[in-house]
Symmetry: C2
Subunit: 317 residues, 2 copies
Amino acid sequence: MNILVTGAAGFIGSNLVDYLLGLGHHVTGVDNLSTGKLEFLRQTKCNTCFRLVRADLLLDENWQQHFESQDLVVHLAANADVRFGPNHPAKDLEQNTIVTQRVLEAARLHGVRRIAFSSTGSVYGEATVIPTPEDAPFPIQTSLYGASKLAAEGLIGAYSEAFGMQAFIFRFVSILGERYTHGHVFDFYQQLRRHPNQLRVLGDGTARKSYLYVKDCVRAIMMAVEKSSERVNIYNLGAKEYCRVDDSIGWINETLGLSPRREYSGGDRGWVGDNPFIFLETSRIRALGWQPELSIREGIIKTVEYLRENPWLMGGQ
Amino acid sequence: MNILVTGAAGFIGSNLVDYLLGLGHHVTGVDNLSTGKLEFLRQTKCNTCFRLVRADLLLDENWQQHFESQDLVVHLAANADVRFGPNHPAKDLEQNTIVTQRVLEAARLHGVRRIAFSSTGSVYGEATVIPTPEDAPFPIQTSLYGASKLAAEGLIGAYSEAFGMQAFIFRFVSILGERYTHGHVFDFYQQLRRHPNQLRVLGDGTARKSYLYVKDCVRAIMMAVEKSSERVNIYNLGAKEYCRVDDSIGWINETLGLSPRREYSGGDRGWVGDNPFIFLETSRIRALGWQPELSIREGIIKTVEYLRENPWLMGGQ
């Protein structure tokens, strides 16, 4: 297949590019390199089945012609940090919702029939059913990030209905693994690198979260694209289990051989719009034959090892 | 209270303005007069408790200072026609989603604590539960209009959580009554005015829809604002019953004393993204003590009578 990946130089994007090239697909990556890194695509340098288009999906126009002759667009480009929405209230709308509409419009104009999209478990807000299934009770949004992804999901659904596209929407838990560059493991690792004896923790450590290893994630995406037959196919992607923030800290410490003093900011939420319990029901994607190869613990350990081997990611701090 | 109403010169907006002035509130209306009509606000001409700000919420900036000292913003301004989304795929996003973010931002910057919003039953897509309650299974969007309103709902939820606002979200069925200027009764009336013996009907006439009389609608809005205590309060607004398109045509004919030949375009949908069965569960708003005073039949008759008395609305066609 010819597959275009937006956000191709990002954490999940670059892992997906590697996976797709491994399967023999022709891949066009688009990235503005705002958070993505060329280093993550170094291995594609001599691969004639890959090309990178450096473009900003919000501001530029020079990327749209690359949608021509694509069999599938995987739209991963986004402002991916759920925590800082209130600091710049229009950013999620611009980067996640408006950009998605631009991507859909390019897909429509160039006749792309299939689109896959990285949504988030944050669209469930504070779920009333846990583990949360895809058809959970209609939720109220609690974060600008979740709201912007929900809006993008809605656009994708409406475009599919109006223009006969097929859509694959994935609601991710937090993803971990090689090339991970933001989120709690990154923050904790960075803190411990500077001050190995002390760790500041947002919240009280009891929040329950679920994580998924990035290679399990990209495998699920392509399995769903292959095996789904509805017009709009929505899948939760997550591990079978959840952990507490304190468990996660324990595994990080264990990997690094440290035992820092923990200082909790307190409260059951790490930030405004944080959700103290995220755990998604994943039986729908597992019914396709997929299951994660790594547990949350193994994913966290792999992530810490990756960060330790790649100090350049800490930006020389 | 000081209340700002966006879309104040529109169908629902001008009815709300009348109702609020009748209750003794101070009202600031904002409208770009793109579909709103000054004629609908003629009765406010000498009312010193009302002022109109002529501004475009998407393109202008001159309206934001009027949010200062408002106790409540009722955001009704929108691209309100569900049928033509696919003809201009960015319009709903711009007029309904992006404008809502701009309104929220103005409310935040000027310290407005309460916001009411006109959403739509279209956010339920093709509902799997009918009558559809507010916490129905998480729906897939089927229209650009519904998607744009859902996106706005999400932004409102996230702003409420992040910035401590209180929100009132109303998911309307189609609204009928005085100053109604678009929708199926308008279309049918306009056709019959030109050709009294012939009526072209989109779909096969069996689609089931619910309607609500506009004065019942504005009364519900203010009752909910008064009596709701959650941070984000979502209410379906609709009649207790539904009717078929064919019933509605019968009542229109009855009022006009006509019996035109009906020509059906066929199929169970009138247009792309149309929903063959819309019927909302309204027990939540009724639990506050509200109920509609007019039945669907009475609302349709009142609408036809209004159109007959106001031929200027047909634009001299």
